[in-house]
Amino acid sequence: MRNTWDGDVHLPLLIEALGKTGYMVSLTLLIGGLLGLALGLALYATRQGSLLPNRAVFAALNVIVNIVRPIPFIILIAAVQPLTVLLTGGYIGTERAVIPLAIATMFGFSRIVEQNLVTIEPGVIEAARASGAGPWRILGTLVIPEALGPLILGFTFVFVAVIDMTAVAGIVGGGGLGNFAISYGFQRYNTEVVWVAVIVIIVLVQLVQLLGNWLARKALRR
């Protein structure tokens, strides 16, 4: 085999890899994003002086996030393997790779959510309380819209990080662009294939970032 890009061989593989990356990223962002949003809201709501202050719950959540978040993703895959097996009966495959991906995304995104929510002016929350709104209603109707712009930017950041992480998912048979670059490029001394994969990833990241910026601008109206 020649060590150059061969459209006939590589293009179908690239398209398949792109599809798998898209699939993993979407599923991860859906599951991890929602769970991360919930966890971030919980962190925000239970901190002292917030809407549902609860020292014990906040401390517990805080410790869990601090434990999980610094684990390098490649190690997290191994660490959650028993959980993956428990939930899905195995640990190899694109869908199964989503479980460690979603967990990493959830914990990473939760901090971003929390950090953006604490910047909401306390006076705005007080005004909602003064109009008779309870804490759950305020969490449900006001807190997210008030921080929507920064939340979209934070989510975009996570989006890009997930594309990065899916490259590693190849080691548990996740497939995707990263796996394509490693298997058909790097391991076969085919630098051109590596570079094509890199360019596709760069374009993908750029598009996501542009979309995120555009949405955030709309949310912030500036």
Partner: protein, 340 residues
């Protein structure tokens, strides 16, 4: 008149770094239905805490609080939600929801109170018309000036037809002209809608301009209370005197007196100008006692639609003649002879 808000022996303590700090100390205040009641004090006097006890945003450590006939002292947060629907609140920094339009901000308390959409829309239009911002319904708060934002704040506070509005330093972030507009609007809220307004401020000008009665708060204690006229005319405490002198300077202070006494030979008296306006009648006739007068200092304005001010006079003549004039003045108003 009937009481709408009563505080009886209300105390509030915070725990800061393991020490109890007393923010409010045995406060008794009764606000009558339909009046504008001002609470004035320097920052840190406890006035923001005090007003938040009324709608339960803060809880008293001890004492009894009655709102609209209901003792809310032991109310839980859930019980307070209903109370708050009947109490509007406006804030120094407006605290509008930036993610919502002007109409969305005003509609929020109505959503909370469960109004159906058609009723809500009609009410929002009515309120925006009342505050003069109907044409800005679909603007966002950051597209409005400070004064306009506070108008939105007032419309939002009035949304659910509350019987009480709490105004926490509502004009402190505004320039003088806009301040007057917002105060006028608050007066209109009070007079036209019959809403009781409780105003928290550190500006005596606000008190003079709209309040009926005022309480002076100092280090968590109520040190003075009365009608605005009374407190302006007879401030009893140094704090109240300082507040009064921040807006009226009708009476000469020590420096003014020294200067006046250096230049004038006669006896110097300060006479209060009351409602009856008979000061001139007496003065026009002092020649009868062989006494001449000169006006040295003073000012006359209006306070709560009543004449308010004082004149400092030099009286020259025989001691007996001047004594006679002072006696005549004392018969119609308060007179203070400035010491030599």
């Amino acid at each position: 008149m009937a009481a709408i808000v009563e505080l009886h022996g209300v105390t509030k303590q915070y725990r800061v770094d393991g020490k109890d700090v007393t923010a409010l100390d045995g406060i008794d205040i009764t606000v009558e239905r339909g009046e504008i009641f001002a609470i004035i004090g320097y920052s840190g006097a406890g006035k923001s805490t005090l007003v938040r006890l009324v709608n339960g945003l803060e809880r008293a450590t001890s004492g009894r609080i009655v709102v609209d006939g209901t003792d809310v002292s032991g109310f839980t947060e859930r019980q307070f939600l209903r109370v708050r629907t009947g109490i509007g609140m406006i804030f120094q920094r407006f605290n509008l929801f930036r993610s919502r339009t002007v109409a969305g901000n005003v509609a929020y308390p109505l959503r909370v109170a469960g109004w159906p959409k058609a009723k809500r829309d009609a009410r929002v239009a009515e309120l925006l018309d009342f505050v003069g911002l109907l044409d800005r319904a679909y603007s966002y708060p950051d597209q409005l000036s400070g004064g306009q934002q506070q108008r939105v704040g007032i419309a939002r506070a009035l949304a659910t037809n509350p019987s009480i509005v709490l105004a926490d330093e509502a004009t402190s972030a505004l320039d003088p002209e806009t301040t007057q507009d917002v105060l006028d609007l608050l007066r209109k809220v009070n007079r036209e809608l019959g809403v009781t307004v409780i105003v928290i401020t550190h500006e005596m000008e606000v008190v003079r301009s709209i309040a009926d009665r005022v309480a002076v708060l100092d280090s968590g204690r109520k040190i003075e209370e009365g009608s605005v006229y009374e407190v302006f005319a007879h401030p009893r405490t140094d704090t109240a005197k300082r507040f009064v002198s921040s807006v009226v300077h009708n009476e000469p202070d020590a420096g003014d007196l020294e200067r006046l006494q250096g230049r004038h030979e006669g006896r110097i008296v300060t006479a209060r100008v009351g409602e009856d306006g008979r000061l001139g009648t007496v003065l026009s006739d002092v020649a009868r006692h062989g006494v001449r007068f000169e006006i040295l200092f003073g000012g006359i304005g209006a306070l709560q639609q009543r004449a308010f001010g004082s004149l400092t006079l030099e009286l020259t003549g025989s001691d007996a003649g001047v004594d006679a004039v002072i006696a005549e003045l004392r018969a119609i108003t308060e007179v203070k002879e400035e010491n030599r």
